[in-house]
């Protein structure tokens, strides 16, 4: 199929995403788009060949960098307010625990399978842990659920869960062989990505100043994100971590953060769905039984770990009246950055390692959406009428839901 036709098809998908049709079945990530990508890709129907897909790699890199920056801009906030401190740190710790448990389990499984050597197994453990530990932050439910107390809690947890995998991903340098012959120590190389993101983030915040001007804002912000992402790829440091650090810096330092967030937020859904389709098309299916066994073991491990973590979180927030099973099941859908991590790894580590990570993530994304979507609906009271929404005034008194993470303790200011 001609690259132009593929591109036009992707624009069509983006168009659907733009109008909020994230999934016919109200699935979080849009698993049906992932499946559509797999079907038209070289693995099944072959309507789009691998050469054509490779031509889209620079666009995918740009998209992933932008997505990470957009997610970072809204990290720690929900509907213009900071996520409650307890909710945030609970989500952060649960996600970190998931990375460790899934990573350790994946290392054990990978070495047992004999598919990877010790060095590759370490890299595999870090990246698979990072790719699979995130969870959806509400996705397509925002229209129905905004204002619901459980939606606030669940979205806050999902939002906080985005940071740990990207921080841990920066450490992949420490376990992978250095990509270039350099006297720079490993720890400095591992810090290169976040430092690059911070430098460009500070630059963007300074350049935006106190007054938002379209003519400057878009080229400066897009330029900084793409430049830092491109440099990350060139220096073989994780581009998602770099772009995430950039977005966090802008959110922390720029007095225009609320306006910036509103402007760039509109781009997330139209960007995500084409990336999901391309992610599905890029997947290279395993050919041996051992590879399939490894992948399904990891998928099961991920679901078990997430379910148990969900139980723990439900007991921590017992006072909110959350159904423990629904809370645990609602954590199963994969977050938007999970597939991004896997796609980025498949570029950085082409071959069996990258392919295994991408296929595992695709399987988790599809199954996670199927298993978790109904739980999310129940949690937000869509199917059974459920728990009543909080009255608007309660927001101000609900310390858990609205207590800011920032040290000053105030709510996020949105008056610029």
């Amino acid at each position: 199929m001609s690259p132009v036709l593929v591109f036009v098809g992707l624009l069509g998908v983006a168009f659907l995403g733009g109008f909020g049709r994230r999934g016919t079945f109200s699935l979080g990530l849009g698993a049906e788009y992932l499946v559509a990508g797999m079907i038209v890709g070289p693995a099944i129907l072959g309507l789009v060949n691998r050469e054509t897909l490779n031509g889209f790699q620079p666009l995918i890199v740009m998209g992933l960098g932008w997505l990470a920056a957009v997610v970072a801009l809204r990290h720690g906030t929900f509907a213009g307010k900071f996520v409650g401190r307890k909710v945030y740190w609970s989500g952060f710790l649960a996600s970190s625990l998931n990375v460790v448990l899934v990573g350790v389990g994946a290392y054990f499984l990978a070495t047992k399978s004999g598919l990877f050597g010790a060095s590759d197994a370490r890299v595999f453990a870090v990246v698979i842990g990072s790719a699979l530990c995130g969870t959806s932050d509400g996705g397509g439910h925002s229209a129905q659920g905004a204002g619901h107390r459980h939606f606030r809690l669940r979205s806050g947890l999902g939002n906080a869960a985005m940071a740990p995998p990207l921080l841990i991903l920066a450490g992949v340098i420490a376990v992978a062989p250095l990509p270039v012959d350099t006297p720079v120590p490993i720890w400095a190389w591992a810090l290169a990505g976040p430092v690059l993101g911070i430098v460009f983030g500070v630059t963007v915040a300074a350049l935006l100043g106190n007054e938002l001007r379209y003519g400057e804002f878009w080229p400066v912000f897009v330029g900084a994100v793409l430049l830092s992402s491109g440099l990350s790829v060139r220096f073989r440091v994780p581009l998602l971590t770099t772009a995430f650090a950039l977005g966090l810096c802008v959110a922390a330092l720029s007095p225009l953060r609320s306006k910036v967030r509103v402007l760039v937020q509109k781009t997330e859904a139209p960007l995500l769905l084409p990336l999901v389709v391309l992610g599905g098309a890029l997947a290279i299916w395993p050919t041996t039984r051992t590879e399939w066994q490894l992948i399904f073991s990891i998928v099961v491990l991920r679901f078990v770990v997430h379910y148990l973590t969900g139980r723990g979180l439900a007991s921590a927030f017992r006072s909110e009246g959350v159904n423990a099973h629904d809370m645990s099941m609602s954590l199963l859908p994969l977050g938007s950055l999970g597939l991004g991590v896997a796609a980025a790894v498949s570029f950085r580590q082409p071959g069996q390692l990258g392919a295994s990570v991408l296929v595992s993530t695709c399987v988790v994304a599809v199954l996670g959406d199927l298993l978790g979507a109904r739980a999310l609906d129940r949690l937000f009271g869509k199917l059974d009428g459920g728990v009543p929404s909080l009255p608007p005034a309660a927001d101000a008194t609900d310390a858990e839901a609205t207590a800011p993470v920032d040290p000053k303790g105030g709510q996020e200011v949105a008056h610029e």
């Binding site: 132009v4 591109f7 036009v8 624009l11 983006a14 168009f15 733009g18 109008f19 790699q57 620079p58 890199v61 740009m62 960098g65 990509p179 270039v180 350099t182 430098v199 630059t203 300074a206 350049l207 100043g209 007054e211 938002l212 001007r213 379209y214 003519g215 400057e216 878009w218 080229p219 400066v220 897009v222 330029g223 900084a224 994100v225 793409l226 430049l227 830092s228 992402s229 491109g230 440099l231 990350s232 790829v233 060139r234 220096f235 073989r236 139209p270 570029f347």
Partner: protein
Amino acid sequence: MSSSGPRPWTHRLVQALSLGVVLAILLALSQFGPAADALGGTTAAVGLLLLVGVLMSEVLDLIHLPHLTGYLAAGALAGPHLLHMVDHETVGKLSQVNTLALTLIALAGGLELRLDTLREVKKTLIRATIVQSSLGLVGGVAVFLLARPFIPFLLAVPMSAAFGISLLWGVLAISRSPSAVLAILSQTRASGPLTRFSLAFVMSSDIVVVLCMAGAMVVARPLIEPGAAVSLQSFEALGHEIYGSICVGTTLGVLLAMYLRFIGGYLILILVLFGFGFSEGVNYLHLDPLLTFLTAGFVVQNFSSSGDRLLHAIEETGAIVFVVFFATAGAHLDLPLLRTMWPVALVLCGSRALITFGCHWLSSRWANDTPVLRRWGWSSLMSQAGLTLGLSLVVERLYPEFGTPFRSLVVATVAMNEVMGPILFKMGLDQSGESGKAAEPVIG
């Protein structure tokens, strides 16, 4: 590319420092880092041109140079001939952005052509077109023939062939740059008689130049290739192209107007679809993309109520696309070539400027224009860019025996006009008091 008053000096300082920091980081990284590969190289290059382009334009704004000059300078600085931050291969890949940029430029051009504006400047427009296309063409041919002793490839052919080649040059000399005019108007938010005349003239001159080039090719062929007969086939093909472009453009315009009326959201995606999808289809049909999208924009503006909305969406998208487009053009500038050909190129550029100025003087008196237009109307006619280069490529393919040096000379003169033209036009708008007169777009 809107602005709402000048930034304070502290912010300018921050911009200058940021430019220094970004360039220093990139230079340092290029010293010890691995070579740029295709994957990271293209992404980093787009980001670099955007960031450095905007910073450079803001810094040059201090001395009242147009933003476009800043983008060109950023591209030239970062490009393969100076700092080598963007290599030749990446510059070639980035040229794909040109398709999108030219579509946006043509659409915006059509949207700017309001019927009432055209009626208002009808007399001036017709007379200026007649004078610039006839005397301008004759002047361009004469100067090129006079410069024959200094142009080696012209000296190597007989006088009749030299006249044929000069005729082709003359047509290129009367071509203008819609992209430069739109970029300057977008930056300055100008409004007034000079703005209206410039838009109407430069947009319509594209069609005139395409027609003139077809005519010049018919006449020049038997002069350049002895034995070749005058063939009217070119006109037949051109007729089909123009008719087809207007028909398809009208259809696209109607579809676009219906979309704006009944759906309206995510215009940026629609514009990208136009830029890559539809322009591919238009090329496949051997139509002229510029005329097609110009017509589409004209239909939306004059036969629906959504023209201004679409124009605003194009300006938003253009804030990114135009920076990359002009910065890539800057990176494309063949500086070594300019170093070798600058004396001849300078003479040709200077004479073109004088001829354009003289033609404007004559036509504005003939049309009894307002004093502002008489004084500054020439300023928008100096820029040259994409169309000129595109037509020179056609000449190169048609006449390989002298096409390459001919095109090199075109590239060298376009480089000069591309840099000087926008500066002169911005000066004209500033001096005539039209800068900043248009309504500010709503920023939400």
